[in-house]
């Protein structure tokens, strides 16, 4: 199979959107699912959420932020290039039905995986309230796409450069206390954001789902690398998740697990940064 990149665009600083040929995956994709990809022969297998899919064109959309070697390498691929391996759709799809009012809370790059879920939530007849946050205005992605499907969209930035000056938790708190109180919150974003959203909604007893970005190898339950504590149970993010009850997830443990390979990640990134300089003649 050939996973050719047919479109590539920069959505913001170090954030890219790619459309990739993967007809089998596109046909089966449901909101909440992800792929595991390997850019080239020496590459690592990493999970990336499917941000959108077009089953007729046989395309899936991937949105990613450059953070390490693999995403840097992926961002260096261009239209016409092929990704070595893409497999999916993995994970249990989001449980979507008419819950009433649903607040979709997205932070930074987390808005990408949130988009197909929000779309599904809206389609199922829910009142959709989007609460989107980013560090600063330039880092916002998919604002228009999200607005198009929302009944109400609230924006905030950490530095006040756009929308409300503050965190998504501040905005969410106001919404919960208003007469637009959601019946369900779905939060996707950086780990601390999901942790504090869950803490807040637990106080207010609003059911909350979060989507976890554990480290994975195979993505099919085979290795157990992505295991997380959910309440008293151990769950595998790849097959049991990636969505879990935010009130039960041990975020601190997950945070430590995500940092485990930080040293090697830096080595790989620095090495690739050097190679990149050499290959373009050192400009």
């Amino acid at each position: 199979m050939n996973y050719k990149i047919v479109k590539k665009e920069a959505l913001g600083e170090d954030v890219f959107r790619m459309r990739v040929e993967a007809p089998k995956i596109a046909r089966k994709h449901r909101p909440g699912q992800f792929v595991v990809l390997r850019v080239n022969e020496t590459g690592e297998r990493v999970p990336l959420t499917i941000a959108d899919s077009d089953s007729e064109a046989g395309l899936i959309t991937l949105i990613f932020q450059v953070v390490g070697k693999t995403t840097m390498l992926l961002s260096d691929q261009n239209v016409g290039d092929a990704i070595s391996d893409v497999c999916g759709p993995l994970g249990t799809p989001t449980h979507i039905e008419n819950f009433g009012k649903v607040a979709c809370v997205g932070g930074g790059i987390g808005i990408a995986p949130l988009y197909p879920i929000a779309k599904g939530i809206k389609k199922a007849g829910n009142r959709l309230i989007n609460i989107l946050g980013a560090r600063t205005k330039e880092l916002f992605i998919l604002e228009d796409e999200m607005a198009e499907i929302a009944d109400r969209q609230l924006i905030c930035t950490d530095d006040g450069s756009y929308g409300t000056h503050g965190l998504v938790t501040d905005v969410l708190k106001d919404v919960i206390e208003s007469d637009d109180r959601p019946d369900l919150v779905i939060a996707i974003g950086p780990l601390p954001m999901m942790k504090f959203v869950s803490k807040l909604t637990k106080e207010y007893e609003v059911p909350t789902w979060v989507s976890l970005n554990s480290i994975m190898v195979d993505g099919t339950g085979m290795c157990g690398c992505c295991r997380v504590s959910v309440g008293d149970e151990q769950k595998f993010t790849c097959v049991d998740g990636p969505e879990f009850d935010g009130h039960l997830v041990d975020f601190d443990e997950l945070g430590k697990r995500l940092a485990f390979y930080r040293e090697q990640e830096a080595i790989a990134r620095d090495k690739y940064t050097e190679e990149r300089k050499c290959s373009c003649g050192g400009d």
Binding site: L90, M222, Q234, E253, Q264, A268
Partner: protein, 483 residues
């Protein structure tokens, strides 16, 4: 190669050992441990076989290889003929010669074993397979004409590869679906390079491709197409050989600390993803100084020996029973000991402890003693009160076994599974409760051996072939026979 063995005058040739790498040196590299027989050694060893009239070794082989037949050809110096002889019954001899537990199968029942050591059948199998690869390579086997029937094989491990090879030779159109990016299943992700070089697996796979088997990697049956969808798309039969792909943990505190791995993860990172070559390859792995592997099977030995090769100063095996109960092959235990793996027998892990960053710093253990035999017939380990001790370490590998991977069973509701989640298949022919679907290997039996999986793949392929050709399975007819 001309001397004909006359009736030997009771000259007792001792069992020939394979030359191998020095233990200390090899403990730091990933090259294969034994070098294999030279032709001279192979012929010397082959001469030990007395060519029994009623050979027991054949019945000891799960795939029924004509063992005296191929050994006779080695005696005669026809090494290529010997390789072809094995391939009549076993399409993966280079692999089986390396990883089969011959000491529990063919070699265990070898008549010579009663008075002296049995014939080194495994070493001879390995020799001829390697010889064939080095000299002239594969010969196309006899192929039946195309039947126009299509078979889907789910999983490319030993069960799936075997079934694919058998079915393609019978003229069926065979497609293998593999979830990983590479073909071979446990042979590539699980068994380390130093025990089974990946180039050998690749050659066996290439051979199947030459025979006409189509392989689709990155294809997760159950997620892309379900088994029902494969049947709807025109496959006449499906064989499920998805393996034991869901690692067990112990359920003790600390198992989610950094530095705790399932053996599957540890071995997959190292073998399939080549983390040992980081940063040439991008996948990282913890290079611990003190690594403790929990478990006593072959996978535990592979993990402990991999840890050593990744630079561990100390590599420990912690096992709750005693040496005699170790499920690993004797040869593997021996290799591990030679390389300097330490064993802590009769030891039960109670708790893994970590530092403030979440990294493993040691394991609280308890000493055990052997009590009365349990259901498995092995003496049950009983904790000794007050014997708790702390074993400092920075990496822990949990190698206590695997359950069945849930993806295929969960997406095939009308295929029966047992309480553990294993697919129920009639062993003899591998038929499941679902029409047109067969299963075999670890997904049915729980974690077993490569050759057991191959045996299941072979039996199922025979049954599939009969069904596709409108022939009945021979007696004894399994009860769950589907119409």
């Amino acid at each position: 190669m001309t001397d004909k063995p006359k009736k030997p005058k009771k000259e007792k040739i001792p069992r020939q050992k394979m030359p191998e790498q020095d233990p200390i040196e090899r403990g730091r590299n990933f090259d294969e441990v034994p070098f294999g027989y030279t032709p001279e050694l192979a012929q010397l060893e082959a001469k030990r076989c007395i060519q029994c009239k009623k050979p027991k070794c054949i019945t000891g082989c799960p795939v029924g290889v004509d063992i005296p037949g191929f050994i006779k050809l080695i005696q005669d110096g026809d090494f290529l003929g010997a390789a072809r002889k094995i391939k009549e019954d076993n399409s993966l001899p280079a692999i089986c010669g390396r990883v089969c537990p011959q000491e529990e199968q063919c070699e265990q029942v070898c008549i010579l074993g009663k008075k002296q050591e049995s014939v080194a059948i495994g070493n001879l199998e390995r020799f001829v397979a390697d010889y064939e690869r080095a000299h002239g390579g594969f010969q196309m086997p006899e192929m039946s004409s195309a039947t126009g029937k299509k078979v889907a094989i789910v999983g490319s491990g030993p069960a799936g590869l075997t079934a694919a090879g058998e079915l393609v030779k019978k003229g069926h159109q065979v497609t293998i679906f593999e979830a990983f990016h590479k073909t071979g299943g446990v042979l590539v992700y699980g068994i380390p390079e130093f025990r089974l070089p990946k180039a050998i697996v690749q050659e066996e796979v290439d051979y199947l491709v030459q025979l006409g088997v189509e392989i689709q990697t990155n294809f997760i049956v159950g997620k892309m197409d379900t088994i029902d969808e494969l049947l709807e798309q025109g496959y006449d039969a499906v064989f499920v050989g998805t393996g034991a792909g869901l690692p067990w943990f112990m359920g003790i505190p600390g198992e989610r600390l950094n530095g705790v791995y399932s053996a599957n993860e540890y071995l997959t990172r190292s073998n399939l993803m080549k983390a040992y070559a980081f940063p040439e390859y991008d996948t990282p792995i913890a290079r611990g100084n003190t690594v403790v592997t929990i478990g006593g099977g072959n996978v535990a030995m592979d993990s402990a020996r991999t840890a050593l090769r990744l630079g561990a100063e100390e590599s420990w095996i912690v096992y709750r029973r005693s040496r005699t109960e170790l499920p690993a092959r004797t040869a593997e235990v021996h290799h591990a000991e030679e390389e300097g793996i330490n064993f802590n027998f009769l030891t039960l892990p109670l708790k893994i402890e970590g530092d403030e960053t979440g990294r493993v710093k040691g394991m609280e253990c308890q000493k055990m003693k052997l009590g009365e035999p349990d259901a498995s017939g092995r003496r049950r380990p009983v904790p000794i009160e007050g014997s708790e001790f702390f074993l400092p370490c920075d990496t822990v590998i949990v190698a206590i076994g695997n359950g069945p991977n849930p993806i295929v069973p969960r997406t095939t509701p009308d295929m029966e599974t047992n309480r553990r989640g294993n697919i129920i298949a009639v062993y003899e022919w591998g038929r499941t409760s679902k029409p047109k679907v067969w299963a075999g290997g670890d997904i049915v039996t729980g974690a077993a051996t490569v050759i057991m999986a191959m045996g299941a793949g072979k039996k199922a392929s025979a049954s599939i072939h009969r069904e596709l050709m409108g022939l009945p399975d021979p007696e004894p007819e399994p009860e769950e026979e589907d119409k």
